[in-house]
Amino acid sequence: MARKTDEMQGREGLEDLFAAMREERVPPSDALMARVLADAMAHQPRPDPQPALKPGQGAAAEAGQGLWRRLAGLFGGAGALAGMGTAAVAGLFIGFVQPVGLGVLEEAVLGTPLETVELIPSVETLFAGN
């Protein structure tokens, strides 16, 4: 067998050493793993129950969303807030328009014009049957 040149032997030997070093593990100490995990926990963002903003939505949108979220929380959720909003708009509407058409409805249902409505029955009414 022909003798290998020094350069060839050197190259092959180096590849062997590289291969051996690839196999050699440098296991991390338990202390290092604990330190890294402690850092991870310390810097981990808190879970956000709301969906993330889409790209393009800016800080103003985020601030607005935060305000609505807080208001909805105050009134018991977004559904309750929407219901309150609708009631407020309906009240404003009735206050501004003259509800003349209600007279027609009242005569159609009751047969006579209605002057007053007793919303809280009197005690006599409750005992009337006795």
Binding site: M1, R3, K4, D6, E7, Q9, G10, R11, E12, G13, L14, D16, L17, F18, A20, M21, R22, E24, R25, V26, P27, P28, S29, L32, M33, R35, V36, L37, D39, A40, M41, H43, Q44, P45, R46, P47, D48
Partner: protein, 200 residues
Amino acid sequence: MPRDMQAEDPATAPDEALLARYAAGDPAAARALTLRLVPRALGYAARMLGDRAEAEDVVQEAMLRLWRAAPGWRAGEAQVSTWLYRVVTNLCTDRLRHRKRRPAAALDEAPEVADGARGAEAGLIEADRMAALQAALDALPDRQRQAVILRHIEGFTNPEIAEVMDIGIEAVESLTARAKRALTAILAGRREELGYGEEN
């Protein structure tokens, strides 16, 4: 947390998916990333610095930067492992520069290959061979050492090394070629001790 996030096994999930889960508050993702990335980063840092304690500090700092970067991580922009190796490389370079400013330990104080009768008769045990290679790596210029470790120990491709080192692919090829020639020359006088001096 969305159900599709919970369904994916942390052990097999891609790095980027785990980082997104970490940013969403999943502690299991932090554990999985730590178990996966720390051993690799530590091996690289230890070979770059030749000092285990310093390597651990570097890895902790690099991982801390990863945790901080997680909430703003942009999907598809960079591979997590490449990004981490880049940070480790920069931290190691800083430490090596700092060492050179101090009254440095001379190269001939680097771990020596065992010599004498034990080496001649029985050859070197594996630890000694690794010590010899580490000493030769330590003797290389920093950039050559980075390139050759990334290519031949960590198994990165040249384009990946180019990204980690922020240089062109041709520069990577040049650095690794020069590093291998230098290593061969450094180790030339020790071939018999290293177990490849005799004719095959």
